[in-house]
Every structure is written in structure tokens, then in C-alpha cells.
């Protein structure tokens, strides 16, 4: 299959300006700026069925259309804070195919009338930020960024901004707070960023992968894009496969590819030929799916995965084999969320503290059956009461782990029950 996003795997040196240009690079941006009205660009993206790739799956064109046109200036912010355990696609896109991503940022900026865009990268990506700075400078030199682009009066600057080690900044309003020079803590919503974003101005926050789709959608048309994937979820997705598979990695595939194909055809099956016990399709934020043949043959799109009692999210598929006990998994995920809770809302701050104490006790063999009941109770109490998705996500593996794998927890507390 020819790649649409991971094009560096087909085209060597596409991360150089000349090779990118030779392969149609910047033609879509030029077409947008010189031949299309901003609303027409948004319309194409809307018709393509593109949905946000950061996890929420919100229709991209619809988000762009929400931008408040009575309040200026507007901003585009690319969310490159890739921090979900199990997700490593945006890193590869930006390293391998940076210009297509930046062209996506540029087209989105034109579509919403923004003259400045920020790429917010997680702090650990400093090398990558310096690399993108070079690429942005090359685009300025070549006349793809700056004043009066393509002989029009449209101008655009793109800037990188480094975070400093906070998972919460992947949440879009926390990211905006961080970009404003504050602690990265989520805002109360509404208002949402398209009406109240960066510096209180209308802002579109899109994930790196989402934006990287845009140049080819504009070049080839909405129908071309919609011809791939499923009715519910159009186009292609990068599935980050990790855990106990033989060949972990990023696989760009149409929506609707089954778990079985991903794990056995692309991931070459499970280490030592063991059976799959569980899948987390959305990284550490995911519900735990107990695996049987029906699950393995489920097509991966947003709607179908929901029928399994989970969300596809950012499609970071962590595979667990039969040697893995879910009390260990839950202890791992809760350590992560306890560390990353921003502390703003009581539910998440205190809830994760208590959950961490409980998972630690259960996993270390000192827990009782009552501890497991209490853990489930705390997690359920938290649901629906957190300020942002981080708190909600922290409960997913806990609740589904205990409910779908009761044996594992019984086993963990057996000596004290």
C-alpha cells in the first residue's frame, strides 16, 4: 500500500524541501491561498469526513466552521504533545514527513484566517523542535511562509513551542494555558477554543496526524479521501501497535482493518506464540477489552470499537498476552495518572491518590477483597465528576479491569481474603 501520511516510507528524503516539492508539496496550500475562499477549504475538509486523530474523533471541518468570525485575531495550534502511553505516531510523522504536516498547519491557518500558528511539542521532543525550526526556516526562505504569500495579501508565521513534561498539556485547554506561560491546567468549558482559545481569541487546536491528512485531501478531493475507510470513519489512520507483539510499530491502514489483521499480519503475532488476553485500543486511557474471536474480527473504526465497550481514541493498540495479570496493568496505569494529574480538580487529584494506594496494595499481595471493592467504588465515584478527560480516563482500565477480569484480582488478594 502506498502511504498517505507516512510517505517517507515510500519516498526517500521527503523530509527535504526539494523532494517534498517534487512530489506535489505545497501545491495544495498554493491552490487554497490563490484559488479558494477560506470557507471553501473548510467545506472540502468537512466533506472528506476527516475526524480528529488525537483521540476524540471530532469532525475536523465542523470544528473549523465553529471559529468565531466576530472576534480576531485567530490562531491555529498544532497539538504535538504526544504523551499517551502507547502512542508514537506524531513523532514519526514529524521526523519523517515534516513538510506535509507543516503544510497542513498552513492550510488550516488559511481556512480559519489565522496569521500565526503554534506547534506545541512535548518537552522531550527538543531535538524534533529544533528540526522543525529548520524546516520552517526553509519554508520561509522558499516563500511558503511569511508576508504576502503567492502574491496575495495573506501572511502566515509558524512557531514551535516546547512543553516541559506534562501529559495534561495534551488536553487542549491545558495546552493553551501552558502556551500562555501558565501552569498547564484545563479550563472550564464551555467556552471552547473556537470561540475562546489562545489569549482568549478564537483558536483551532488540531492533532499532528489530523493536520497531516489535509494537504492530500485538498489535492485529491473529499471523495478520494472518503473512498478509504468505513462509512463511520473515513480515510486512513496510523495504528501504533505496542506490547507483547513480535513486531511493534506504526501501521498506516484504512479504518475498518480488524484487530486480527493488525496484530497477526502486521504485528507478526504474539511473542512466543502465546494467546492474546486483552487489548487496550487507546493507550493507557483505554478500557481493557477481553479478547475472543469476535473481538479480533472487529473492524477498527470509532463506532465498531465502541460496541466492544471501549473507545478507539488515538488508536494506540497495546496488546497483552495471557501471562499478564490485570492487577499489574491497572497498577501501572494508575501510577501514570497519579503522576500526571494536574491537581486542579479534587476528584482527579484525590481519586488518583487513593486509587494508587489501593492498586499498589493489591498488586503487592497485601490487599484484600474489600480493597478491590473499594478501588472499584472510588473509580466509579470519579466518573462523570472530573474537570477534564484525564480524570475520566484514569478510571477506565480500573473499572473494566476489575469487571472483565475478576479472576486476576481474586488471585492477587487470595492470601488475605
Amino acid at each position: 500500500m502506498t502511504h498517505i501520511l507516512l510517505r517517507h516510507r515510500d519516498i526517500p528524503d521527503i523530509n527535504t524541501l526539494n523532494v517534498y516539492k517534487k512530489n506535489g508539496g505545497f501545491a495544495a496550500f498554493k491552490k487554497a491561498v490563490t484559488k479558494m475562499k477560506p470557507a471553501e477549504v473548510t467545506e472540502v475538509v468537512k466533506n472528506s469526513g476527516l475526524r480528529g486523530r488525537g483521540g476524540a474523533g471530532f469532525p475536523t471541518g465542523m470544528k473549523w466552521a465553529f471559529i468565531d468570525k466576530n472576534n480576531w485575531p485567530h490562531y491555529v495550534v498544532a497539538n504535538a504533545d504526544e504523551s499517551e502511553p502507547g502512542t508514537f505516531k506524531d513523532r514519526e510523522i514529524m521526523e519523517g514527513n515534516p513538510f506535509q504536516f507543516l503544510e497542513g498547519v498552513a492550510i488550516a491557518s488559511y481556512a480559519i484566517g489565522a496569521n500565526a500558528a503554534y506547534v506545541y511539542l512535548r518537552g522531550e521532543f527538543w531535538e524534533l523542535a529544533a528540526f522543525l525550526d529548520e524546516k520552517i526556516a526553509e519554508m520561509e526562505e522558499a516563500g511558503y511562509l511569511g508576508e504576502d504569500l503567492f502574491g496575495t495579501d495573506y501572511s502566515l508565521k509558524i512557531y514551535t513551542h516546547l512543553g516541559a513534561g506534562a501529559y495534561i498539556c495534551g488536553e487542549e485547554t491545558a495546552l493553551l494555558e501552558s502556551l500562555e506561560g501558565k501552569r498547564g491546567q484545563p479550563r472550564v468549558r464551555p467556552p471552547f477554543p473556537p470561540s475562546y482559545g489562545l489569549y482568549g481569541k478564537p483558536t483551532i487546536v488540531n492533532n499532528v496526524e489530523t493536520l497531516t491528512n489535509v494537504p492530500l485531501i485538498l489535492a485529491n478531493g473529499a471523495d478520494w479521501y472518503k473512498s478509504m475507510g468505513t462509512v463511520d470513519s473515513a480515510g486512513v489512520k496510523i495504528f501504533s501497535l505496542s506490547g507483547r507483539v513480535r513486531k511493534p510499530g506504526n501501521y498506516e491502514l484504512p479504518f475498518g482493518t480488524t484487530f486480527r489483521q493488525l496484530i497477526y499480519e502486521y504485528g507478526m503475532g504474539i511473542q512466543e506464540g502465546r494467546p492474546v488476553k486483552a487489548i487496550m485500543p487507546a493507550g493507557a486511557s483505554s478500557s481493557l477489552i477481553a479478547v475472543d474471536d469476535k473481538v479480533l474480527d472487529t473492524p477498527m473504526d470509532y463506532a465498531a470499537v465502541r460496541t466492544l465497550g471501549a473507545d478507539l481514541g488515538s488508536a494506540s493498540v497495546i496488546v497483552l498476552d495471557d501471562t499478564v495479570s490485570m492487577d499489574w496493568v491497572v497498577n501501572k496505569t494508575i501510577h501514570f495518572f497519579k503522576h500526571e494529574s494536574c491537581g486542579k480538580c479534587t476528584t482527579c487529584r484525590e481519586g488518583n491518590y487513593w486509587m494508587r494506594n489501593l492498586t499498589e496494595r493489591i498488586h503487592s499481595g497485601k490487599g484484600t477483597g474489600a480493597d478491590v471493592d473499594l478501588l472499584l467504588n472510588v473509580a466509579k465515584q470519579m466518573q462523570g465528576k472530573c474537570l477534564c478527560a484525564l480524570g475520566e480516563f484514569s478510571t477506565m482500565a480500573v473499572v473494566t479491569g476489575i469487571e472483565r477480569f475478576p479472576q486476576d484480582f481474586k488471585q492477587a488478594v487470595r492470601s488475605n481474603s
Binding site: 504526544e82 513523532r91 529544533a130 500562555e180 506561560g181 507483547r244 497495546i318 501514570f336
Partner: protein, 163 residues
């Protein structure tokens, strides 16, 4: 020496990235600049940054405290950051970290006696296909982090020194 005197060009460039009325946005890049050489941020540097951005020192300190990549005390010249999150742990990260501790003779969070290496257990580094993975950060090229897959279990001190 104040930050502006030491890095006049960089300070100017960083401030230019943000609208002048929102220069507070430059607090994070300025903090990176401040810890470029010594690997940590001094009280004086925080005062400098507060003055440049016209915010209080407390506000700057709250940023340093909130984000894990800012440090307010001197530690090892190099930071070895080992991911122990779920995808890495499924591929031996905890054992890898134990080995590293044994080889370096320190616990997680400690610094080797020669002041060369501080060992940290960190959250997911977005390279789970290379699990178990870790990265090192050094002072000289502070904009550079090295991603390692399945790093060496021994001779680690020598490895980072060459870096």
C-alpha cells in the same frame, strides 16, 4: 550575569515568537535557556525571568514546580531517563531499570558519586515500538536528547561521556 546579558540574541528571538502584549508566553523557553548550562534553574535566573516578563517571581517558580523537565537544584551532568510505563514494562523496562541501578550503584532519583549521571524513571517517551527505551540529556547540547532503544546494560558511564 543576567540572562539578557549572557544570551542577548536568544532572549530577543524567544520574545519575538509571541505577541508583545502576551510576552508571558516566553516563560517556558526562557526557563530552558536558564538551565542550559548548569542543568538547573537558579533563584537569580527566576528573578531575571520575572523581571523580563513583568510577572512575579512566585509565578515563575510555580512554572518550575509544575513541569517535570525544569529542575531547581544541581544534579548529575547527564540525566538518564528510563521509561517504565505500560508498553515499555511489557517489554522488560522494570528489569532494565533494575540492571541499570545495579550497574551504576545508585537508586532511581540518585546521582552517581562522580556527579556524572542522575537516574530517573520517567513517563512514556513516545517511542513504544523501541521498548524498553530511555533517553539521555546532557548540558553541552541541551537542545538535544538522544533516544536509545535497548541500551547497553554496562559501560553506561563511558557511553554518555562520549556523547
Amino acid at each position: 550575569m543576567s540572562l539578557e546579558k549572557k544570551y542577548p540574541k536568544e532572549v530577543k528571538q524567544l520574545l519575538a515568537k509571541y505577541p508583545p502584549e502576551h510576552k508571558r508566553s516566553a516563560v517556558m523557553p526562557l526557563l530552558y535557556l536558564a538551565q542550559r548550562e548548569e542543568g538547573y534553574i537558579t533563584r537569580e535566573a527566576m528573578q531575571d525571568i520575572a523581571r523580563i516578563l513583568e510577572i512575579t517571581e512566585t509565578e515563575v517558580a510555580s512554572i518550575v514546580g509544575f513541569y517535570t523537565l525544569y529542575h531547581d537544584k544541581k544534579e548529575g551532568k547527564y540525566r538518564m531517563q528510563v521509561c517504565t510505563d505500560l508498553p515499555c514494562a511489557l517489554r522488560g523496562a522494570d528489569e532494565f531499570l533494575d540492571n541499570l541501578c545495579a550497574n551504576l550503584g545508585i537508586k532511581v532519583g540518585e546521582t552517581t558519586e562522580d556527579g556524572l549521571v542522575t537516574l530517573e524513571s520517567v513517563m512514556c517517551l513516545a517511542a513504544c515500538d523501541r521498548a524498553p527505551m530511555f533517553q539521555t540529556q546532557g548540558p553541552r547540547r541541551h537542545q538535544v536528547s538522544r533516544v536509545h532503544d535497548r541500551g547497553p546494560h554496562h559501560g553506561i558511564g563511558r557511553g554518555v561521556e562520549e556523547e
